[in-house]
């Protein structure tokens, strides 16, 4: 790693207190994002990817959540020990956030213009009038027709896709260097999903904003990412540029994920059935020793159940956490 990264998460552990004990939702995660790139974090629900994303801006509830270990270095400064006031200066101003549920992420009692302007006035000290103008500008940037008029509309007057555009406009309103998007298309119709992804790609090209995209859909990964991080049960299991990841996935879990994508290009006569990964995610209350995927892995050996595999670099930029990564190439 030569140049310092925009965002560098190292050894991050986030645990949640529950009635039954501490849930280790994120258990030692390393992720780095470079300026201007799109990094996808992919994994099943409950693998810790959303918690990781929210922890960057400290948007998880603490308590019950707690950052147990690790650092989140943003442009050379560690966010973990920062005070509330310091964090607030970073939110939206430097790092924007887009949520999963556009239908509920906007406050129903204020106009969308007011909600965008609120962030702008807060961070840039603009007047009410100037902030509303900026809000209208942002809405037209994300291709909302009649933006100047629609700033005065309430969220319920927008469709789900349009609301997600508003959320993107809000996240971009203070010209941040990074946008974290937590499953931004999951709640939308398929046709709208593509439009939102296109819009995000366009914004990245136009504004040079880096994007950290959280998703569970490999299709979204293929369409947007330069680099991909695969998470499983609170840990990173593989990290690679998007080409090598799809061409030569090294971790058995990644291989399973890729095999579970429906493929239209294969003829039905090839009799290749869609594969699902057997079994379920282990409990994060008391995770088993060794590799967390071992219980579901068809290549698992005794070693996998006792020793935890470290994340090792197999090729440039291609890291994998598997003892037998070399021998089980797809």
């Amino acid at each position: 790693m030569s140049a310092p990264r925009l965002l560098e998460i190292a050894g991050l552990k986030v645990h949640f207190k529950t009635d039954d004990g501490w849930v280790r939702a994120v258990d030692g995660v390393d992720i780095g994002v470079d300026a201007g790139e799109t990094l996808c974090v992919v994994g099943e629900s409950g693998c810790g990817k959303t918690v990781t994303a929210k922890t960057i801006l400290k948007l998880i509830d603490m308590p019950p959540g707690r950052i147990v270990a690790g650092s989140i270095t943003w442009q050379g400064r560690d966010l973990v020990p920062m005070t509330g006031a310091q964090m607030r200066a970073i939110r939206t101003k430097q790092i924007g956030f887009i949520f999963q549920e556009p239908m509920t992420s906007l406050n129903p009692v204020y106009t969308v213009g007011e909600q965008i302007a609120e962030a702008v006035r807060m961070h840039e000290g603009l007047s009410r009038r100037a902030a509303m103008d900026r809000a209208a500008e942002m809405l037209s940037l994300v291709h909302i027709p009649n933006a100047a008029r629609r700033v005065h509309d309430y969220p319920h007057q927008f469709s789900g896709g349009m609301r997600q555009r508003v959320m993107i406009a809000m996240a971009l309103s203070c010209n941040p260097k990074l946008i974290i998007a937590d499953e931004p298309t999951t709640a939308l119709d398929v046709t709208i999903q593509a439009q939102i992804l296109d819009l995000m790609n366009e914004m990245k090209e136009k504004l040079g904003t880096a994007i950290l995209l959280i998703t569970h859909a490999m299709g979204v990964v293929a369409e947007t990412a330069q680099r991909v991080v695969v998470m499983y049960a609170g840990k990173v299991v593989e990290e690679a540029p998007v080409g090598p990841l799809f061409a030569t996935p090294r971790h058995p879990y990644t291989q399973g994920l890729i095999r579970s994508i429906p493929r239209l290009d294969l003829a039905a006569t090839e009799h290749k059935r869609l594969e699902a990964i057997p079994g379920t995610v282990p409990s994060l209350l008391d995770p088993p020793p060794g590799c967390r995927f071992a219980a579901r892995c068809r290549f698992a050996q005794a070693e996998c159940r006792s020793a935890e595999p470290p994340l090792r670099e197999l090729a440039t930029g291609h890291k994998v956490a598997c003892h037998f990564a070399e021998s089980i190439a797809a």
Binding site: I90, T92, F99, L106
Partner: protein, 319 residues
Amino acid sequence: MTQYLIRRLLIAIPSLLGISVILFTVLALAPGDPFEELATNPAIPPEVRQQLRASLGMDDPIHIRYFSWLAAMLRGEWGYSFVSRIPVDDLILQRLPTTIAVIGASQVLALCIALPVGVYSATRPYSIFDQIANTLAFIGFSLPTFFTGLLFILFFSIYLDWLPFVYNANINATGWKWWWEQIRQSIMPVAVLGLFQGAAWTRYVRSAVLDVIRLDHVTTARAKGLPESRITMRHVVRNAMIPVVTLVALQMPAVFGGAIVTEQIFRVPGIGSLLISAILANDTPVIMAVTFVLSALVIFFNLVADILYGWLDPRISYR
């Protein structure tokens, strides 16, 4: 918004009619003659009473009687008190301002307790403060107003001798002294009503705020980098007010009930104590009119709540 207002008004009118039907049914089903008082009055010969009955339409079929009764009620022709021979509307107009003042002041007090305590509790759920506030609120609305009233009198009037326990409508003083006496004698009735309502509302505010605080848009507000105080006021409390307004409107009948009891305890000359004394004196015209006025007031405040609701929630008024 105008459309919404008109719709609400159109809903309020049938409610008022419905309540008038209920009141009239009760009156019509009642055994005995509401004019019995006249019958026992030796100064009025039976023939005169007969004529009076006929002129008032007492012998008409029931639906005709209902409509003429309703028309009279709506026109404010409520007859004369059997006891004092004063027109009923004069009696009520005399008393109404006091009742409204006591209720208004107690609602302000209730709000001043419920909002800060409820919001603070909800932002720190299950903390010591929350548990104490919650328990006190529970005790507060389990204490019937008549008992708190007596306790207040025992403590503040009899034991400490700080406050008068009988409300004096004609204070013999002027200027600031009049105000001072007025405030002193209003403290207990207002506090009794206000604390009771405050306890109930604290629970409403707390649960409404707890519901809102979990919502996604609050996280959005946090992601925008807003300070916590602004998030609480603008994105939590503002939204939580919407359900609270509905619950408070549902409480309005209970508020008037509490006012009647409080007025009775402290001898406040409002329409509540007018009602009780009228019942004890078998003064039917006054009883009917006061009940009707109180019903109309409840409907009116429900309408106010509806307007407030529409103003608070753009999803309602912009349809």
